[in-house]
Amino acid sequence: MHPIVKLVAQRLALGALLLLAASALIFGLTEALPGDAAQAILGQAATAESLANLREEMGLNRPALTRYFEWLGGILTGDMGVALTNKLDIATSVASRMSNTLFLAFWAALISVPLAILLGLIAVRYQNRWPDKAISGVTLASISLPEFMIAYILIFFFAVKLFWAPSFANISPSMDLLDKLHAIALPVAVLVMVVLAHMMRMTRAAILNVMQSAYIETAELKGLTGFQVIARHAFPNAIAPIVNVVMINMAYLVVGVVVVEVVFAYPGMGQYLVDAVVKRDVPVVLACGVIFAAVYILLNIFADVVSILTNPRLRHPK
């Protein structure tokens, strides 16, 4: 078997194991901590007897392991149970909110990835000159502010003072694409700012790292032009780290979405999760938590697999 197939298979198997462990961790955490669904429904003032009755009725008395596998089976088959607070089917809510969140994340990624790679290249081209320094400065500023602060600063100037975009990103299926894009302009801008700085800094580091290799020097010395050096030698070796950087930031976007959706009252997964946490709606928290964790882990696995596949040394073993 080609060694690369083996490596990828190993990585995928490890990833599947990690997904399983992560779901067990999330379930176990809510299980191990005091308070359960019965407590959440009846409140702190509930008598021991009514609690016991409700637990019996909801099947909470059965062993944790049994309930874990039932829950996991449910998640995998699309049956996530009903929310405690409004008795609505969780899977239905998740489906519509998930598509909204992906819509937001898709546009943020579409803008930020090419922009970050372009700016990263500029920073390498003008290394240690003013464009490079300006980029580091912006990076320092953007990692020093939480997402919701950037959001309110943008709302204050662009929604309230200039009326360019709405401060509440309310979208519905009946809107056409242009209206939707106008509605999500500010949340997309926030997400782009959150990941852009990090992504271009890491792109810069990745390309600089490759440009310092001995084979780049050899390529230059044997008389290739600057473009040929980059196209034939630097780029194939920089793809893996850049894809890795992009994937790590897309994973980070998944977390950024939680806060940004709350700020803009955007009907997505993040807002659903935070709402459920505030209302102590454990089944919804579990479902959302495991979905967020799974997306995050899957993006990281994808990054690993791509970096294996794009590594020329692994593709053409001696």
Binding site: L18, A22, I26, L29, A141, P146, F148, Y152, I153, V278
Partner: protein, 272 residues
Amino acid sequence: MMKNIPLSALIGLVITATYFIAAALAPVIAPYGMAEVVGDVWEPSSAEHLLGTDQIGRDLLSRMIYGGRTTIWIATLATILSFATGSTLGFFAAVMGGWVDMALSRLVDLFMSIPSLILALVILSSIEATVVTLIVLMGLLDSTRVYRLARAVAVDISVMDYVEAARLRGEKLKWIIFREILPNALSPLVAELGLRFIFMVLFISTLSFLGVGVQPPLADWGGIVKENKEGINFGIGAALYPAVAIATLAISVNLVADWVLNRTTSLKGGRG
């Protein structure tokens, strides 16, 4: 030592110190009480209220000072907990090696495979958010990052001849961790301290903003944003003051951390 301090680090040090002193002396320097209603809703800034008033007429400057006290206090204690737990376990894993190292490292990998914010939200749906539970929660979640660093540093140190010598003369585990490894691993850990502290400030502010962190009537910077966010739509910038506070604190601590890192690495292992 203080002679060669660069200007940027000096500015960082002064601003950081100012925030910490303001946090410590909040009851003395705040012009009004934390929960005292002293004016009208969202008054503009005036001589009596330098930053104006908040959404129910409390003095915003006093809220900011008390809020900073809560935020900095929680972030500091959580950072200390994170370093104490993370570095002790990291050193322990490096010194023990074998299955102990394996088990601890895989457990940490598992925790790090899920974003901290998501884990924190899942946990906070089951427990009551108090100052103590928040500190423990944030400190333990973040200790996984310190563990990684501490272990990596300690693995290099634990194969040094002087550690071997200490083992051969029969020193106990406690001696090896705290007398041999800790002093030599201090530089990279101290440089990391600043970054972790900033991360804690951002983390607690985010949790409070989402409504699952510090609970009212206690003020903290994230909470002040949450309370005053409606004002933004009327063009009232009360919710933006915490942004300025967090950004200046974060940048100052970063400047100091950069300086510490440069100073310790340029001496090639020496600790002046």
